[in-house]
Symmetry: D4
Subunit: 251 residues, 8 copies
């Protein structure tokens, strides 16, 4: 039942060709597809600061360029391409010249929304090797209009480096903790603050880290309250979740 | 928007207090909840031969009795209670005297639908210890109106026992294979027939069976085509899937 | 005991050189190999619409070409080569010029059987990256003589895209659901329909998807009845199983 | 260095027995233990609405009673005892008569803080068996001064039950999703809303659910953005995280 | 096709009612079930020294007694019941008075075959807790007519205890090694001898032994050649395999 | 070759009945068993402060009592019984009246060696539920003649509790860290000190702790150097290893 | 204590400079290293038909050539290099011109021992992709002097192919079964014969085969008695074990 | 609060502008960052013999060179770069000409501290393929000023090679055992000595070694006391732990 069908039905009622009860019966089984979901989506996108996110891994360059172009034409919001290599970026930039690229985080950023600067999200990372994931989180949150503080290289083996950042810990509204190996940083941070901590395990490590499993399990079993966890290496997800949370404060 | 609100809207259109276009706009965002899904469910239940299935594990006896009573009052179909112990059954029977119980399969059966006897589903099991799961599958399929043949104790260590059942293999339209330990029976049967095989790994075994994992993985990796798999010990799921498939033949 | 030996034995009985009881004794231990199994196979192939399926992974190009040629010469049915790269296809086409290739699904198709167009199988996939597996399923089912509808990119994160396809859901007789990541699509579809759903987990994802394990476990634990599961990325297996099921309806 | 030692040092400076530079040197190595952390803790507790949470599993009844009494005497906030059985509760109530107990959620609640009623947290659960975990989450959030809406039994196998709750979905500021088996509810909800979703996998299920692992992995691999995850059955952790997030909106 | 049908067919040929060619055609599709497999089985049982082995776990006492009686009546070989508790044994002994029981190994033994005393099988176990599995292996081998030497409590942490048994190591023809924890004994023994070693991992251990997984993996990865492995705690399987091997030497 | 045989050989050489070269040849193949290993063991026991350790789990009370008596009669060192319940202890004490018992750590202690008091071993534990394992470690080390400091309940969620113990951290020569859940304490302690840390994961936790696996993996992946790990819940092993290490300092 | 020291001691006894008792004392602590173990090894090698096996994976070409040369010079037996690529072989052949190579099985063979032809070992494999492992097993057994029958491509999906080989099954003394995917062949063969079956899981498969884990677990859980298992892809180990077993029959 | 702020506060007290009690209050909340942690670190580095260790995996060459230069300028200790390839080394050597490289162990060594030669650490390895990890351990310990003995290629399959090294076993103060495959060497060595054994599982192996998991689990489950374990392939960690332990003996 598309809009035309619906119009015909209502006109039938208006013209009393169709009874109200019959209309009710027919509308009760109104198929889902006719309900104008696009509108809901439209609202949703505007509110989130992204028109869409393109997960580039496992898509061909052609597919990515086509999606990006379509989204860019539709307008109305920032576009983010995650896990994009530089070759993909080159192809996108040929069509969308203002597309930017962060090679470390493997992000394509097409900034079209209004730039906000909301509250404070703190992104902490444990080691140098965790930087790509941390930057993915930080840039994602920035694209959503958040002010992001970065404190990197604060692994628990040198706990004083973390403890010397109490100012930033206390000023943040949401904290993203990025750590591989044993992932202990999430618990320590969770114990120091009383704000939401989003923990991102990374695949940094070897042997019994089993591709990030060790850090993932550690973060899920955090003895500190207030820690929730996203997938291994999912910097985007953590930055996005932090952005959603931080937006709550401004309403 | 409930039915009354919808009636008011349509009456407004009928009485020309509301324009057709305004009606379209309002119906476009018509919330899901007002669409009378129960009706869809109703149809669905009738067609499937069950008004509902109650998974009893993890529910209190009181909860189960209450759900069973409500479903029985609504009428119109068989009711199946899976993973029910005899104590639960006693409580159910006090309220629903015609409730039956199969202790081996841990099933409560309340037969209210018309009894059909459709085609042939064959349930094969590898060992004596697999019987409870096999019976759960067989009784579930029977409750859905299927004729079920049972061939038990045909493990691959005595391949001739299976091979001596070629008649039943060839007469069946769908085959459910129930096996624990190494679960090889599914592959052997899948290689002998060209009909859908639904494989049920069981937790029968010890040590490196890891609670049915060995049989599950074996069945998923079957070298025979035409085998799909349900959860470990999920006799109900296999019987139900077999019943859905078998119904296709009669339309 | 080959056919000649059997003939000699029966002629011996006919000529009364061999007693009936002696013949019974000898036939009782008649070795399996002499029973003309090829005939059984022959029937089986004809009925299934395939003379054989060649799983190309782990075989050399030479082996694949040799098998394909032998099957093509034998005639009588379609031949399918799964997990074939384009180099293998080139080698096959040199010998079998009418061999076709689908690069996305990595399938070599040699169409020799009569082309049927049976019922409706619906192949749903969750994301763009799941397309190769979905196409493998769809093409396999088509090769078996089924009419296949494809609805791609209907992941549960945009549930309306799925809900807008209720027509196709209701017209299908069997549904193949292809999804990676959390594999939730299988449960949602299983809850919407009362027909057999064959779920294919894919290895699409990263981190804690553990190569498709997350989707596999989710599908096996589906809270919806009527879902059975094949191996990770096994599009062929799902399409084949769907084809077997769909054939039931026509007899 | 305790407070007395510090006083002596400062008095020495005041009386010019100790030079300023010497004081700096001594304070630079001021051991951690002397810094009055309790005060920090004190502030923290006040702000969170809990003076402390007692994880009762693995503690003796005596230990739990002793800790509860000490916390109750200190005053200033609510006290929560998680995973407490009724026997433990009886022992606690003998000493703290206003202690309350929720048997379903296994929570002891000692309400001493001021009762707030902040915003809206929505707790969704998939099945009846998930109720204990869902209630643990809801009550925890309520104890922290949040208004909690509960929508239970909305598993994805009956997607309409969820879709009929769009009002509550849109009114909530934070959503807790509790689901066992395949855990698909988190992804579906995450796709419908643009607010933070905290997902709690439960150990509800059998076979290849592996004690909640299936739901956990599914939630971590959610194709919907905005979903973060806590440990299996960790209703407290989800409620607490939701409470921390919801508090952001009021400052 | 049973024996009577076969007789009719052959008589038809004899009486020239049926042509030889027609007989060939019919016999070609002769179903498996008619081939007198029991005879094959009969031979097999005689040769192995067991008429049958009853795996008692997961069977009811009634089932076990019934099977044991039937086997005992058939005669001709020893009967072994594995994983039987004493209650089951009492029930069996009421019907079969000469049934014996070994409580440590949980074995019911009904000795009916002729007692042989073949070669030397050595059963080594690492620790006191491995004794039940070791005895299951030893008694199984003895029931098959083998002479069994036992050397227990020779874990690798006291390597001299093993090294002081070189006589027994050199006199054995086959060696069964039973070890839990790290399962290192299999490798050490495998390195000392040049005869087949059958390794049995046991579930003895805790923590990261994961129910015998550690020992299982260790034994599968043995750096010594000549070691093959059976399931965790499968003393019967090891004893049986050792018995099969040892029999080779006597022909 | 026992001592007598050896004596005969040497007397033969002395009496020139056996040539030196022949003696060399015979001694070259001297079997292992004749080399007086008991003597080596004897020395070893004396030096370690234990005549033997009895791992009581999986042994019968009778076996344990028998072993304990034999060891006690042999004299010369302390005897430790690990994982012993109180019933076992009662039985032991009937025969060995000075046997002591620690119910928390499930240890039977028979002190017969001279009591030393060596250096400082620090045992840290993260939570109250880790106490049994921590005490097992502490008492084991004490039985070996070490002075043990205990600092319990210093989980990383309250990092200041740990940091306030810098004195004890700096005075210890070896540190045992006992922690369940995410096991982060080992990394934090390893980062604060430059002495050997022996980490003991415990099975404290639920859900994705998987019986201590999360803590185990975390500790193995510690980003701090100087941390080595023993089995889950292996307090004895950690205390013993710490004792071996601490003894190095005194020679 | 080397041979010279031993000679001095025995000469001291001969010349009565050393008493017999003193000699006994000194010989009791005779270190292991002086006992001429090489001799033991020498015997062992002769008997096994190999002077040594070189596992080439993880060794440099230089290391492999050096080891091979040393072994070849020592003489007296065949030399086998497993998991060798052709480059390694070229380097070996430059120094040892009669070295042979089997590219499929990745084996270097240097035949120096006398060629025997003992009994019958049957190597069965399930699929074409299992051939490299099957050949590794077969060639290893042949190098040890066994006659090897090969029956390849007998997967259980076409059970008749296996059943048609009953002659070879009955003539073999030991059977090696090589299978990937679900590994069911081992159970089926184990059920057909009463001789030792050595099962080799292979890593052939994808998805939930998890690199051979599915086949490994299936084989360990075989419902047929008489099956023992070696590591995934360990064709050498299976061939070697089969060779050890087969040798028993000839003594 | 930095040093200047602290000085101002103390001068305020000295000049009686600030009361002692006010000073106490302000110092109580003295933030962590101002406490001169660098000093603690400084001491720590000097004592350990390393100014820092650079884990090179996952860092860019530029990052590594920059860190190395900074550390080299600071002076005062040896610098170790682990998991460095030769390309990284070339870049480091351009800036730090006395940097050395061990290609087998992938270590960059910059020797600046005084060279000590303390006690005896024994590094044992099981096979040739374990050499890189063993050398990483040995060189790390040497860089810390320890005398290291190496005994390689002493796998338990040839136990006499190990037993012939009793001298070295008895002379060592700490022993590092490096082994892949089944990792049994750690248990055997742990049973022979009464000194601390640090076990390093390696990823050497295939199939069910699962990247070193088999050896890891075996070592954690060692039946010998006195064995603790580091991560798979973590030669550095073992050498470092051994160095920390060995230093205890000299104070």
């Amino acid at each position: 039942m598309n809009e035309d069908t619906l119009r015909l039905l209502l006109q039938g009622i208006k013209q009393r060709d169709v009874s109200v009860e019959e209309g009710i019966e027919r509308l009760k089984v109104l198929p889902f597809e006719d309900l104008g979901f696009a509108k809901v989506d439209y609202h949703r996108n505007i509110r989130q600061g992204f028109s869409e996110v393109i997960y580039c891994a496992g898509k061909t360059t052609e597919q990515i360029v086509a999606i990006a172009e379509k989204l860019a034409e539709r307008g109305g919001g920032n576009i983010l391409g995650t896990r994009a290599d530089s070759e993909v970026y080159q192809a996108v930039r040929e069509r969308i010249p203002d597309a930017e690229y962060n090679a470390l985080a493997h992000l394509i950023m097409i900034k079209r929304g209004k730039q906000e600067d909301r509250g404070n999200i703190l992104v902490l990372s444990a080691g140098t090797s965790d930087l790509p994931v941390a930057e993915e989180a930080a840039l994602t949150a920035e694209m959503m209009g958040n002010h992001v503080e970065r404190v990197y290289d604060t692994g628990v083996a040198g706990i004083h480096r973390l403890l010397s950042q109490t100012d930033k810990l206390s000023q943040a509204r949401v904290i993203v903790v990025v750590a591989g190996m044993e992932g202990a940083l999430a618990s320590v941070v969770g114990g120091l603050v009383d704000k939401p901590v989003i923990a991102v395990p990374t695949s940094v490590g070897y042997g019994a880290s089993f591709g990030g499993l060790a850090a993932l399990l550690a973060m899920l079993n955090s003895c500190a309250s207030g820690v929730s966890v996203v997938n291994i290496d999912n910097g985007f997800g953590a930055g996005y979740q932090a952005g959603l949370i931080n937006r709550l404060g401004e309403n």
